[in-house]
Assembly symmetry: C2
Amino acid sequence: MKLSTKGRYGLKAMFDLALHDGKGPVSLAAIAERQSISIHYLEQLVSPLRKAGLLKSVRGAQGGYLLAKAPSEISIKEILELLEGPLAPASCVVEGEEACDNSNFCVSHMIYDRIYESINQVVANISLQDMLDEQHRKLQDTISDMKQA
Amino acid sequence: MKLSTKGRYGLKAMFDLALHDGKGPVSLAAIAERQSISIHYLEQLVSPLRKAGLLKSVRGAQGGYLLAKAPSEISIKEILELLEGPLAPASCVVEGEEACDNSNFCVSHMIYDRIYESINQVVANISLQDMLDEQHRKLQDTISDMKQA
DNA sequence: ACGAATTCCTAGTAAATAGCTAGGGATTGA
DNA sequence: TCAATCCCTAGCTATTTACTAGGAATTCGT
């Protein structure tokens, strides 16, 4: 039930881009270094995100990547699903996938359905903007802790 | 983010045992045939469930397995966690596991935490008895559909 | 007492997946 | 022109998954 590095690194990369939103293109080399990810591996994660229209790229020197939409318009669900596939505990609950033997009588199905729904509920309601806000809140907390001490 | 066959088969097996609860020991051979699982593979799934005290075994001829508690006392969470490990999207949110680089500033952490929590909410609140009830309800529906037609 | 049915244990193994690395072509700013 | 960048395909290693194999220990029925 774990996410793979694709999803986790991809999310880190998108968050990094959100932090630099509006400041021109960010190169993969910069992201790779800040997030401690191999640049070649990162390329492969970023490719589907670009093709899906979450990212825009600028080629050539001083090029890089930019968010294609505002951070508030990009949900975690989009990012993770692109890189991981549907966030379902079993493929039989995914629309379009093959159902289990006799899905009418498969009681496990109900369970997988509920898990699927609850995961989607969470990730659909968190945007990159929410992550930026959370980051900001955490930094504030840390600063006031330091003043206290 | 998929469950493995361990979790899925194990759940099926436990549900099968719940269906036969109170009717004496059920052999792995019987479960294996009904649920279309290799009996040798099933042995390996059942072993941790027994060691954890969810199942009791009766050795020798006419032996088999029995639920160690009432179906209402066995949650899906116990079963799946035993076979899959913690139902977390990343190990950094699991208590006792190594945290990420700097968990104070890792905003992804918040997301994984929320997913983890929502999955646990779902599975902790479904028992084998709930699955039995659901099965019963589905059968009733099917019967009334047939009468209608 | 014997044999069939069962649980129990350890080991091995083939296929898939994860997590990268390697190399090179295409594009563009300075 | 050249250095920096994106872009694409291929390959490779380690781990995990999903089993299979074989056999010892136990117990019921006869």
